[in-house]
């Protein structure tokens, strides 16, 4: 907790020292992907369910937030709420089907992937709403109230840096509370020994669904922010490569930790910018890092550090 607060303060102070748009941009993407990776880890690392549905939630929320702003005239922040509700609804429908049929590991991954593809194809072909492959241009900006200045739009890297940093911090805080409650204990029980959890009175179906829904609701904010930050939404948001990127971040950083996915997000977001790479080469780098992480550090960077500290303390 102390470490988390220290890191937050350091990150909050960063724009005072670093003026480079390039660096801030990397951090903004890190924070948005961090939200996705942390919430994915809630479902995968903490509850043990390898979901491939996260990009669908991310993409649909990006579209729904934007469409709600444009067509319903809602302010950005207000529009994220029905989007989150939509994400929960999607998660409950898909999760209910998967968990009712007790799909585990590969089967759960493959079926959630199929659902994600189904939704991607709907988004791709629903031209009247989504504009198909061409995607949508997002011209609006989130606004917030600033003392003395009134309502101001989020503009420029520094403002976006703080908005996304706070969004990530709130996400992490919610995850910490959930994981330290009885819910977190049930998630761990399901991950480690489902049969034992059942005989101890844990409603496995309900808690898997809860993890899936909470993770999806929080991930929906990442979708809304991403669309507004980049100013562009297309069906690629829902693609399988997004799933692979999120998975790579979590495995590299350390599954079953909250800091791990953020570290993974920083490395995998930063690297391609630091070493300028073409799309295909970037995909290869992801693959190589994934293989390396699994072979050398199955617990990921943060997981290995935690284990190393525990060994030293013992």
């Amino acid at each position: 907790m102390k470490l988390g607060i220290t890191l937050f303060v350091l990150l909050a102070a960063l724009p005072l020292a670093v003026r480079s748009d390039f660096v801030l941009t990397i951090f903004i993407f890190t924070f948005i992907y961090g939200i996705l990776a942390v919430t994915f880890d809630l479902i995968f690392g903490f509850t043990g369910q390898l979901s491939m549905f996260h990009p669908a939630v991310f993409g649909v929320s990006a579209y729904s937030t934007h469409l709600l702003v444009v067509h319903a005239g809602l302010p950005f922040w207000l529009a994220t709420l029905p989007s989150a509700a939509g994400a929960v609804l999607l998660a409950v429908v898909v999760g209910s089907i998967c968990f009712k049929f007790r799909l585990k590991t590969f089967y759960f991954a493959v079926v959630t992937l199929a659902f994600a593809e189904m939704i991607r194809l709907i988004v791709l072909n629903w031209n009247s709403v989504t504009n198909g492959t061409l995607g949508l241009v997002v011209s609006g900006r989130p606004t917030f109230w600033w003392p003395g200045a009134g309502w101001v739009a989020v503009r420029g890297p520094v403002a976006w840096y703080y908005v996304t940093l706070v969004a990530l911090a709130v996400t992490v805080l919610v995850c910490v509370r959930v994981l330290h409650s009885w819910m977190g204990r049930c998630f761990a029980a399901i991950r480690l020994n489902e049969d034992l959890a059942r005989t101890l009175g844990v409603d496995v179906f309900r808690y898997k669904l809860l993890s899936f829904a909470v993770g999806s609701a929080l991930a929906s904010f990442a979708g809304g922010l991403y669309g507004y930050y980049t100013g562009y939404i297309d069906p690629g948001y829902l693609g399988i490569n997004q799933s692979m990127e999120i998975l790579a971040m979590v495995l590299l950083g350390g599954q079953g930790t909250l800091a791990g996915p953020i570290v993974g997000s920083l490395i995998l977001t930063g690297l391609p910018h630091v070493i300028d790479l073409r799309g295909e080469l970037r995909a290869m780098l992801y693959g190589a890092i994934l293989i390396f992480a699994i072979l050398v550090m199955p617990r990921g960077i943060v997981g290995s550090l935690v284990a190393w500290r525990a060994r030293r303390a013992a």
């Binding site: 509370r177 204990r185 034992l196 009175g201 844990v202």
Partner: protein
Amino acid sequence: MLLEVRAVTKRFSGLIAVSNVSFVVAAGEVVGIIGPNGSGKTTLLNVIARLAPASAGAVLWKGENIGGLRPDQVATRGLVKTFQNPQVFAELSVLDNVFIATHLALKRQLGVRRVAELCGGGRAAEAALRDEVEEVLTLCDLTAATHQLAGNLSYGEEKMLGIAMGLMCRPELLLLDEPGSGLGREELTNLATVLVKVHAAGTTLCIVDHKIGFLRGIAGRVIALDHGEKIAEGPPDQVLDDPKVVEAYLGTTRARA
């Protein structure tokens, strides 16, 4: 009547593991179920705890047919089972293992008010549970191992942890699947002491085991199974002297000798 097993049969594609078994368990009893390996003891417990569906017959808990319930719903009603091969959450500490088992206690105590825990509330309930967890750990002689990883425990300790977790669910009836198997003599004595204490505290016990001497000491009534059928029932001494039981355990020649 707490538990009523009515003509339960369990078939595994052709193999009849449990055949037409009926018995009852009243509140406050300690019932032992004995039988040689493969006589259907574990299967019978699994059917009662709903880990396996019965092929025929019914299981009644306080008069309610629990045949359609999930295992967690059965546990919620106060019917909790421990495993023969110790099942623990290996990556967590002993304390965390037992704390996971407070799930039902917290649910009964707070209900939806558990949500307060998300905002940092519910501390009082959690503190009370912590005391109870420590009590159970002391009872099960696990205090020294509290902060060890469950995966690093000895076999005997893992079995005791299984019982500790079962107890944390505050069961009315605890089904114990061969709690004594694989234990040394000293561990067995400890186990008997723990079970006597648990019973004295008001928990009804149903113990499956084939250590006859162990059961003779604590069970008030014993049911003997062989090839999935009930072959005897009554006070321990009477059942253990029953020729059919002796034959099932030792074979015909030895029984006659």
